[in-house]
């Protein structure tokens, strides 16, 4: 999948991908139900989730309102 050219949208895409991967790790670990699955959940799942959420939060705090984007259609 090609990432978007706009920095904000690219970061949101990246955050989405990381969060989907973390949720897939969670699904896998819950299905496997072994001690190693718990460690995989904590290590890999925790890392991916933290990274995804941090990328999202970073995209919020670094969002530049002057950045060109599609106008808000819901506003008058």
């Amino acid at each position: 999948m090609k990432l978007n050219a706009k920095p904000l949208e690219r970061r949101l895409q990246l955050a989405g991908i990381l969060i989907i991967l973390s949720l897939l790790v969670e699904v896998f670990s819950l299905l496997w139900n072994r001690p190693l699955a718990f460690l995989a959940y904590i290590a890999a799942g925790g890392f991916l989730l933290s990274a995804g959420v941090l990328v999202y939060l970073y995209s919020l705090v670094t969002f530049n309102t002057s950045e060109p984007s599609t106008p808000d259609q819901t506003r008058p």
Binding site: N4, E9, L12, A15, G16, I20, L23, P35, L49, Q73
Partner: protein, 208 residues
């Protein structure tokens, strides 16, 4: 009523589907609704899924089959099916004195304020030793078995409080309650798992 497990699965599937929207169309965040949705999907839902997933993992780790999934624990699982009432673990397991699906956890957790936390930390230590170190042979508890774990259920029970052997000497019962006289190592209930004797015992056929 939806069970917590089913709710978690539904939440994970919903979160994946919604997060996928932001992967294929991140431009939805240009609207106010899209921004709110992004906050829910990329922050609230993943954190909720992680919290519920951790809770589910902790619940799963209490299961007997979870403990017995490690090869080294197989003899201990087998000892639960010994056809001999003097085998303490087997008698408790077979007569449902402990929940069979949480047999290991029920007897091997600490019944203290942070008992659950200590149990889980011990569990992580087990995993470390099992995969990255060499487990002791035979396996030993890290510390002496505390009577508190037995008394969690037996304290106040008629068979314990008025048991003939417990009351032969008036000092016995207080000593047991104060953990000064061990239920196990005093010799009274010394046959617990005894995995080294498993080749010489009969097994409960109904469970096989």
């Amino acid at each position: 009523m939806i069970s917590p497990t089913l709710f978690l699965w539904m939440l994970i599937v919903l979160s994946i589907l919604l997060a996928f929207i932001f992967v294929v169309r991140p431009s939805v965040t240009t609207t106010r609704g899209g921004k709110i949705l992004a906050f829910v999907v990329l922050f609230i839902l993943p954190v909720l899924c992680a919290a519920m997933g951790t809770s589910q993992h902790i619940e799963n780790s209490k299961q007997t089959k979870f403990c017995l999934s490690c090869h080294i624990m197989e003899p201990y699982g087998k000892s639960l099916l010994v056809d001999d009432p003097s085998y303490l673990a087997a008698a408790h397991y077979q007569n449902h004195r402990v929940p069979p699906e949480q047999a290991c956890y029920t007897c091997h957790t600490d019944y203290t304020l942070y008992g659950d936390v200590h149990s889980k930390l011990r569990g992580l230590r087990h995993v470390y030793i099992n995969y990255l170190s060499k487990p002791a042979q035979p396996i030993r508890l890290y510390s002496a078995y505390n009577n508190r774990e037995c008394l969690h259920c037996h304290l106040g029970a008629r068979s314990f409080e008025q048991g003939a052997v417990h009351n032969v000497d008036p000092a016995t019962l207080p000593a047991i309650k104060a953990n000064q006289l061990s239920c196990l190592s005093s010799g009274c209930h010394a046959t617990v798992h005894n995995v080294e004797q498993l080749n010489n015992v009969k097994f409960w056929k109904a469970a096989q």
